[in-house]
């Protein structure tokens, strides 16, 4: 219990003294995960719309693959991205391995199927004739897509929360492609792993609490957006 109490006290100290290193790690975590979520939001909802609104052969197979991708192990993604970005790898010329950009790429690969999978389900649960109804009100293709996204906004925001939750808490891929370089690519999860392995449980607990607080804050904002302005 003493260990936990010490950890909480250390966390509060680090938070209130605005420890520069912790602040930097926290901001980088937030930046990387928000960016990765935004990229996967664009790709995931886009893919979800394409899959849900079109009929094509192999649609069920694609949905199965996307659903499988929702449980993609981060270390597998980390390994794949590392190989791709390795100096001699196919994308090695970008020279972005062990940078925050590499973490964003890996995290986006993890979150995209999560957002795509939930988006497909969200769009498929809309009434089948809603699409025809919107078209018959004189909508363009773009207006149709926008209205469908609006109608599915509650589950779609849940998809965003699930995607963000998946990447902010992920450690395997971040450590593999980011390298946990102090002051450069160290994020909350990789720092927590490192501090734990060094036996610095108080700092590790502090970082974990900050991580929880961060996850809660972002989800609180998203929940507010999800639940606001619902007419009675």
């Amino acid at each position: 219990m003493g260990l936990i109490w010490e950890g909480i006290k250390e966390a509060l100290r680090l938070l209130f003294t605005l420890d520069p290193e912790v602040l930097k790690i926290t901001l980088l975590s937030l930046k990387v995960s928000v960016l990765a979520t935004l990229v996967s939001l664009f790709l995931g909802i886009g893919a979800g719309l394409l899959i849900a609104l079109n009929r094509f052969p192999g649609k069920h197979l694609i949905i199965s693959l996307v659903n499988t991708g929702m449980g993609l192990p981060p270390v597998v993604v980390g390994l794949f991205v590392t190989i791709m970005l390795w100096r001699n790898g196919p994308l090695g010329f970008f020279e972005i391995l062990y940078t925050p950009t590499a973490i964003v790429i890996a995290q986006a690969i993890i979150a995209t199927p999560i957002i795509a999978g939930i988006s497909v389900a969200a769009l498929q649960q809309l009434p089948p004739n809603l699409r025809l109804q919107i078209l018959s009100l004189g909508a363009t293709r773009r207006q149709l897509v926008w209205l469908l996204v609006q109608e599915a906004r509650l589950p779609l925001l849940a998809a965003v929360m699930a995607g963000f939750g998946g990447v902010i808490s992920e450690v395997g891929a971040s450590i593999m492609v980011g390298g946990n370089i102090k002051g450069y690519s160290r994020v909350l999860t990789t720092a927590t792993v490192m501090e734990t392995s060094k036996g610095n449980f108080d700092v590790a607990i502090a970082l974990s609490l900050i991580l929880l607080l961060l996850a809660f804050s972002v989800n609180a904002v998203l929940t507010y957006l999800q639940q606001r302005k619902r007419p009675r």
Binding site: P127, N129, L130, L132, Q133, I134, L135, S136, L137, G138, A139, T140, Q143, L147, Q150, E151, R230, P231, R232
Partner: protein, 360 residues
């Protein structure tokens, strides 16, 4: 007859190797109300959605005001001038007011114009008090009123209705049909209504198209189709109910008399003198006798000649020529007791309460 607002030629819709719709020709006159009736799976909804340009036909042409809809852009512009109301109300997760303005917003209608038309449409369907309510919390009837008002707010040149009342309970449905009939009289909107309820069709429509296996089995005026079905399918589907068109010549104390083909029919209701009415009599409400019964409470008695007797299990349907077509359903026992045969002369009677006023 004016130029048709919509004309269809050699329309075909195929799903894979199955032909689901084959319409050689079909036209809509401006201001007309056409009912597509037929059993489930007869192609009513497919035809309606094809006419509304929501399904692209495999072959054939659809011409709006004489212009064929060929390109994607032409079909899109056409969809902005017509609209469709489904069986489900399909409202957006927003207020009733936002829902009524949704189509107008898609058309980039100015805010002030939109507000005005939303208010008008709400007033027409009696939902002004619901404008700020969430569409999610409406009853079935209120939701369908909202859906109809959303369509009328657009001022469509053609309104397609796909079984819009079938999910409603009977009292709600009756009230909504009455209101829709009034709005249609006021707006003179061209309507195509798909329904499997022939009474609903008779109350709203001028033209009936009976659909069977993706084809129009018969197309014509309501009375014509009901009283002169072209084949057994149509006859079975429309139930050969007697439908009579007439003019009100007297009305007092909740009872009116209409002149129908030279004879008089008495019915319950308050109607204006000179008003055109369409009335229907179900065959099971018509009784037959050899002489006029003095103690009968029926007000309508017509001598007629039996033209056909169709056995229907324990009953027989007797078709009569009374100067107009009249059908009666009698038991096999009565048929035998009265010794009814084709060309026999009988008196057909029905009560004033058995007369349904279908349309004014």
């Amino acid at each position: 007859m004016s130029a048709p607002i919509l004309a269809v030629r050699a329309l075909e819709v195929w799903r894979g190797s199955i032909q689901v719709l084959a319409i050689p020709s079909f036209t809509l006159q401006p201001g007309s109300v056409t009912a597509l009736i037929g059993p489930n799976g007869s192609g009513k909804s497919t035809l309606l959605q094809t006419l509304a340009s929501l399904i692209e036909p495999t072959a054939g042409a659809i011409c709006f005001h004489g212009n064929p809809l060929q390109t994607r852009q032409e079909r899109y512009l056409y969809r902005r001038r017509v609209t469709l109301v489904f069986q489900e109300s399909l409202l957006f997760d927003a207020t009733v007011r936002s829902n009524l303005g949704a189509g107008l917003k898609l058309h980039d209608s100015p805010r002030a114009e939109r507000a005005k038309r939303v208010e008008e449409a709400a007033a027409r369907f009696g939902i002004t008090h619901l404008l700020d309510r969430s569409a999610r919390n409406l009853s079935g009837g209120e939701a369908q009123r909202t859906s109809l008002a959303r369509a009328f707010a657009l001022g469509p040149e053609i309104l397609f209705l796909d079984e819009p009342f079938s999910a409603l309970d009977p009292p709600t449905r009756e009230a909504l049909i009455d209101d829709l009939a009034r709005v249609l009289r006021e707006t003179r909107t061209t309507v195509v209504l798909a329904t499997h309820d022939q009474l609903e069709a008779m109350r709203l429509a001028d033209v009936l198209a009976v659909m069977h296996q993706g084809r129009i089995a018969q197309l014509g005026g309501v009375a014509e189709v009901i009283n002169h079905p072209v084949d057994e399918f149509v006859a079975a589907f429309v139930g050969m109910e007697t439908v009579l068109d007439g003019m009100v010549i007297a009305c007092s104390q909740g009872l009116f008399t209409a002149s129908v083909g030279g004879t008089h029919v008495q019915a319950l209701g308050e109607e204006a003198l000179g008003a055109q009415v369409r009335v229907g009599v179900r065959p099971e409400n018509v009784t037959l006798s050899l002489f006029q019964e003095t103690c009968s409470s029926a007000l309508n008695h017509f001598p007629g000649t039996i033209t056909r007797i169709v056995p229907k299990g324990p009953y027989s349907k007797v078709e009569l020529d009374c100067g107009f077509f009249l059908a009666a359903l009698v038991t096999a026992r009565s048929l035998e007791e009265l010794n009814l045969r084709e060309k026999s002369r009988v008196i057909a009677s029905f009560k004033a309460t058995a007369v349904h006023v279908l349309r004014k």
